[in-house]
């Protein structure tokens, strides 16, 4: 774990409030697993807390990125992301990482099915690269969002996945509705036996996908979000209730025990 002062290399505006920011990182960071994350702070004392962002790419994840860099895909919500979006080349960043556990590859016999909700697609580029490097076939992806503009990196995902099924709440791209619709169809066709679901997106989506995974008994890993103060396990602010091995519900920290947790452990 490093706390590094680095600087912005570029901060690409992808439209609709989505950005891809690139900054320099030392070699050790290149070992990061997909769905591991950084706590990123911008200069100045506001906001007080750093914000968590998944690693989206590293050396070679995107064709045009520079060596010794990392990329983070983010969407502007509030103070922290607004400040981030205003940074230009050379601006200073405070970056703590790698944090959290990250996605593991699927067991043999199973293929990764990525389920992303909007900006929840952030951890998948690096995961797709990891799958390729490990000799896995290109995964399929179900990518949903409110509207057409909320599907960042869509063309990159189309190039890098076997197939991308789209859903939008307003029908402006792909099927009108939720990611659970195409997912349920796939699972009803019996595909579940050969799949491992990797899910990242807003809480209601995670819950809906987890319910389907449980109904069809498919392995399912969720990349969770929680408000975080520290990101490295000390504030105890980011807990979620999970079923312990002893069957009792207890609180675990999303930042160190997650952010990836098997869906069946969740005690929502």
């Amino acid at each position: 774990m490093l706390d590094l002062t680095t600087s912005v290399i570029r901060n690409l505006d992808l439209g609709h409030g989505n950005y891809l920011i690139e900054f320099g990182v030392p070699d050790s960071i290149q070992q990061m697993k997909p769905a591991q994350f950084f706590m990123i702070g911008t200069p100045g004392s506001e906001p007080l807390l750093r914000r968590p962002y998944s690693v989206c790419g590293l050396n070679g994840t995107f064709p045009d990125n520079q060596r010794g860099t990392a990329q983070v895909l983010y969407k502007v919500y509030g103070k922290g992301t607004r400040l981030l979006s205003g940074l230009g080349k050379g601006a200073e960043l405070q970056v703590l990482g790698p944090l959290g556990n990250g996605f593991d590859l699927p067991d043999t016999g199973r293929r990764a099915l990525l389920v992303a909700g909007g900006i929840g697609s952030a951890p998948f580029p690096l995961f797709i690269r990891h799958l390729a490097e490990a000799g896995h076939p290109a995964p399929r992806m179900i990518y949903g969002a409110r509207s057409q503009g909320d599907l960042p990196l869509l063309s990159w995902f189309r190039d890098s996945c076997e197939e991308v099924l789209l859903t939008t709440d307003d029908g402006s791209a792909g099927e009108a509705g939720r990611v659970t619709q195409p997912l349920e169809r796939l699972l009803e066709q019996g595909e579940g036996e050969r799949l491992h679901l990797y899910v990242c997106g807003p809480d209601p989506m995670l819950k809906a996908v987890a319910r389907l995974a449980s109904r069809f008994d498919v392995p399912c890993d969720l990349a969770l979000e929680a408000p975080m103060a520290c990101g490295f396990g000390v504030c105890l602010g980011c807990v979620v209730p999970v079923h312990g091995d002893d069957g009792e519900v207890r609180f675990e920290r999303v930042c160190v025990d997650g952010p990836v947790m098997p869906a069946q452990r969740m005690a929502w």
Partner: protein
């Protein structure tokens, strides 16, 4: 070479910078960031007789220059602290203080007795900002009589240096400070968090599951400095100041106002090295200003009369 060592009654510290309870885990979590031995000491997460799960989420909320928390005193319990955490800290040259709380006076005493004489433990800090279940739920620390009683009981239960950590949610902190002093506290820590609340105006619900929480961070610093100054002028025992400290300048406000040592809390979350950085900054300040010892500065605020 400047002298950073300080004494708070029986508690001797190599430098005046500690980390605040609940913001530094059990210390070990910070080993990746710096040598724990560079600190004056650390204060453990609040310890109860038995392990506690704490409150359901959402447990934290950011506010302007501050944060609210309702962690709910989740902790491993005093036994696990003694068997699993404390031994791993023994080889660091710094003071380990155990922060203690209970829902009844008997629980406080139980934990103090278990801690008494534990090898490598430098002292006990009583967190009296907990609701007193026997006494209508009002916090021990907001009622001078309950505070005096629990302090006296713990005083009997341990020979370790005993600090009482004052609640700031009172009309006049000098009253509770004097109550703790009279009941045998060796030193006072101040302040704990202020009770606050945040509301999600879209959901029209409290942001925190438990509705209210404790406010910490730079936002409270001017309030905490004032309480330190008030208390310094009201009691004779030494003080450990805290509330929104992020750097040496912040720490010096407390020291000038009368604190012999300071604790860094929320800032540990934002900049994991802040407590260690602070030690160096403090040394620089003393050198640049020609002081030989940090003790010269304690309570040295110049106030025209």
């Amino acid at each position: 070479m400047v002298d950073l060592s300080v004494e708070l009654g029986p508690l001797k510290l190599k430098n005046p910078v500690l980390t605040a309870s609940g913001t530094f885990g059990y210390g070990l979590e910070f080993e990746p960031f710096f040598d724990l031995g560079s600190l004056g000491g650390i204060v453990s997460k609040g310890l109860s007789p038995r392990p506690r799960h704490g409150n359901p989420p959402q447990r934290i909320a950011e506010t302007p220059a501050g944060m609210l928390n309702t962690i709910g005193l989740q902790n491993v319990g005093v036994d696990a602290f003694l068997s699993e955490k404390l031994p791993k800290l023994e080889h660091y040259d710094m003071a380990v203080l155990a922060n203690v709380f209970g829902e009844t006076e008997a629980e406080y005493v139980e934990v103090c007795k278990k801690l008494d004489g534990a090898p490598g433990l430098a002292g006990i800090e009583l967190n009296v900002s907990c609701p007193n279940v026997e006494c209508g739920g009002i916090a021990f620390g907001n009622d001078p009589r309950a505070l005096a009683s629990v302090t006296a009981a713990c005083r009997k239960a341990t020979g370790l240096p005993l600090l009482v950590k004052l609640s700031p949610n009172v009309t006049d902190i000098r009253e509770t400070a004097r109550a703790a002093e009279d009941a045998g506290a060796d030193a006072l820590s101040l302040v704990n968090t202020f009770v606050g609340m945040a509301i999600d105006v879209e959901a029209r619900r409290p942001v925190l599951n438990r509705v209210s929480g404790g406010l910490s961070g730079p936002a409270i610093r001017p309030l905490a400095v004032h309480m330190t100054w008030q208390t310094y002028n009201a009691v004779k025992i030494p003080l450990m100041g805290m509330g929104g400290i992020t750097c040496a300048r912040d720490a010096l406000e407390f020291i000038l106002a009368g604190a012999s040592a300071v604790q860094v809390g929320t800032s540990n979350f934002v900049t994991p090295t802040s407590a260690a950085d602070l030690v160096n900054e403090l040394r620089d300040y003393l050198e640049q200003h020609g002081f030989e010892s940090v003790r010269e500065l304690v309570g040295s605020l110049q106030v025209e009369s």
